[in-house]
Amino acid sequence: MLNTVYLDALRKREETLSILKGQRFKQILEEARRNWVEYTPQKQDAIIVGIDSSYNSTKFQGLELWVVTAVSVKSDGTMISEKHSQGLGTPNPELVTQASQMEIDACVASVDEADLVALDGSLYSQFMTRQASLAITLTSAIKKKHNVIFVSKTSVTRNQFSKLGSLAGDIFYYNHAIKKSGFSKIFIDKEFGPGKVISSVYARLSDSTPLIKIELLGSEHNESEIKSLLDKLCKNSVSGYPYALKLAHNNCKITHTDLARLVSLYGLGNEVGSREVLD
């Protein structure tokens, strides 16, 4: 079977990779270059807080053992907020909503403690998938000091080059077009209506590092504000990614091993199906 797959791949190679070649691809890259602002961030001292959440669960015979965590941590390792929830049964509200609520709680607890609060992920997903009540809490937390941003290493949004027939996410074309540090011109998306306007840029903190996507709430942002933002992020970043976010991720992630430990602590190790988490 696999041999057939491989042969087919060889046959279709040119056609499949055509998205990386050709006139249309070159056109998009050209557009991406035009849209790029070259800028070398100057390291600026700032207290940066990273926020991230994690959830995991295991199911056996209709039961679900679940756990949700969220943390808010400074670049120097100081914890500002640690939240968690766990239970046996059907999680209510669903885990993703609980995680989002915790992130927002952590954000509320952090805005007064830092120069910049960076949440891992996207404002889009917050507005698209979360309950409306959460969006209100979130926007009011962001507006309190206007120091909250969303940072993601990957993005699938295809807003900027769709009119040129782009097939991949916008980040893909920026990554291919430019290797220098800087950021894309601010893209303003008003899709979610007033009060939920999202401004976003793709940024590179130093040459040849991976791009990150930065999202901010509202439309009143300018390039000098983005430059100042990059200056602050640059100070404590490793390979173009804010260290506070790395710390937050490392501190909150619930791995299968952690879940297996929890299964053992609950004394559920002998329940049928419970050992699957150990695999």
Partner: protein, 506 residues
């Protein structure tokens, strides 16, 4: 003071701990277990940084370094601790390991002087100070001299790492305690040993007292020269042994045998040449009129017997003779004390003696028979009963006979880099763990791992430097060259001044 917590899987003999500060390998700690305080030895110490893990390039390393310095939680200090036993039992000399491992979460405490002092520096007079614990430097490190004499020691290290200093230190203490120590000094390292009650003499060989095959070795007859060996054997009669002029009698005997036995004239002539050669070359060593060479050794003193002038074969004959005689003397003395006098002669040594053999790999080699090896092995086996201790010193443990090495009840191991040397030591010393073994290459001059019966616990110590020591140190070639060229200049100047140029002829 709380310095860590047991984490992960714990075993009765080994735990892993997360510590609040980096702990040194060789440091003693207290594991405050549910069943009582346990003494632990840090055998492995690992520091890691979350930020600096999995760094892919230099730029990333520099950025990670910056954030790592900022993050107070970045560093991770993990240690592996070997559990040596319950502290209170160890203080009474009983190494009792717990049956149940310490629970994860058990506190690790700093070991204090009162915890360790009783174990490493007992007050009894047989315990002598040798230095201080390397990682707990306020604690004295002592060794039990009784165990050295009764169970033997091996001092193993690379050249220049402090073997002769340790021997000197032991010698100094033995001299203070009026013990008898004999050092077979192969490189004249101990002739200037600064201790009271020292006797420095050249080791002698009295040819009258040797067996014919040993005399053949001493005068350097080839082992496979069967005819020459026979000439000597037949000529070395009892009357020759007792003759007033030993060499003349031996030469007469050899000549006579050559003349009277058909086909042996040439061989006898070669033996005569060898005798003549030995008489002249080794006149200081081969002394038929020196009586019993063992008489050179003085009881209650440090005796340095120089074997530097002897060839390896001669030294081997000399050493084996001394070891044999010393063991026999101690045996006689022992039986005499028990009321069973065997030989008629008076015993020279009434109290236990301790013998140190330098360059042990030459005299007690692996895979090769030597007489010294035979007698050293016998002393190692029987010495405990009869009061003769053996100390072997070597920089090449891999070349020492493993049977003899494994009979050394105590070991001082200093810096050893070669893997096969380490493996040989590991197989000889059961109490030396793999982790402790890996530390041998990182020891500095004067640092030693002490294992065996002369210490209550395996310990890493820094040996005191013997003050005024003029032994075993490397030559200062640079300053000696400078001194020598200075004298040349003086000589050149003084002669130039004496030449009257107007008297020189064209």
């Amino acid at each position: 003071m709380n310095i860590g917590v047991v984490i992960g899987e714990a075993k009765p003999t080994e735990v892993t701990a997360q510590s609040s500060r980096p702990l040194s390998v060789g440091e003693y700690v207290i594991v405050d277990s549910q069943n009582g305080k346990l003494l632990g030895l840090v055998e492995r110490s690992i520091i890691s940084s979350d930020a600096l893990a999995d760094v892919r390039n230099f730029d990333e390393a520099m950025e990670s370094k910056e954030v790592a310095e900022l993050n107070i939680r970045d560093k991770n200090y993990k240690v592996k601790i070997r559990i040596l036993g319950f502290l209170d039992k160890l203080q009474k000399g009983q190494p009792i390991v717990p049956a149940i491992p310490p629970l994860p979460g058990t506190t690790i405490l700093e070991a204090t002087e009162s915890d360790l002092g009783i174990i490493f520096a007992p007050k009894e007079k047989e315990w002598i100070r040798i230095g201080s614990l390397l990682r707990n430097s306020e604690i004295e490190a002592k060794i039990n001299l009784n165990k050295i004499v009764s169970r033997h020691i091996g001092i193993l290290a690379m050249t220049g790492m402090g073997k002769s200093n340790l021997v000197s230190l032991i010698a100094k203490h033995v001299a203070t305690l009026q013990g008898t120590l004999i050092i077979f000094d192969y490189h004249n390292d101990y002739t200037n040993l600064n201790v009271t009650k020292i006797s420095v003499t050249d080791a002698k060989i009295n040819p009258r007292l040797l067996q014919a095959d040993k005399l053949a070795e001493v005068i350097e007859l080839r082992e496979n020269a069967d005819k020459q060996q026979r000439v000597l054997r037949e000529s070395f009669t009892q009357s020759v042994r007792q003759a007033k002029d030993f060499w003349a009698a031996l030469e007469d005997g050899v000549s006579a045998f050559g003349h009277t036995t058909k086909g042996y004239a040439d061989s006898a002539s070669r033996v005569l040449d060898k005798i003549d050669d030995a008489k002249h070359r080794f006149s200081d060593i081969l002394d038929p009129d020196c009586g019993d060479p063992v008489d050179l050794i003085k009881e209650g003193r440090v005796n340095v017997l120089s074997v530097a002038e002897l060839s390896e074969r001669q030294a081997n004959v000399g050493l084996s003779y001394y070891l044999q005689e010393l063991l026999n003397d101690r045996k006689d003395s022992y039986w005499a004390k028990k009321g069973r006098k065997i030989s008629g002669k008076n015993n020279k040594f009434s109290a236990p003696i301790f013998v140190i053999i330098e360059e042990a790999h030459v005299f007690i080699p692996k895979g090769e028979h030597t007489d010294t090896k035979y007698w050293a092995s016998k002393v190692a086996r029987e010495g405990r009963k009869f009061g003769i201790g053996l100390g072997i010193v070597s920089q090449r443990p891999r070349n020492i006979d493993p049977n003899v090495l494994s009979q050394m009840g105590s070991l001082a191991i200093m810096k050893i880099v070669q893997d096969d040397d380490q493996q040989q030591i590991a197989s000889a010393a059961e109490s030396l763990s793999k982790d402790l073994l890996t530390q041998l290459s990182s020891l500095n001059i004067g640092d030693a791992v002490l294992v065996g019966q002369w210490v209550n616990l395996p310990s890493i110590v820094h040996v005191d430097e013997v003050k005024g020591k003029t032994i075993g140190s490397d030559l200062n070639a640079v300053s000696e060259w400078a001194e020598s060229s200075k004298f040349k200049e003086i000589a050149a100047e003084s002669t130039q001044g004496l030449i009257q140029k107007d008297l020189l002829m064209d």
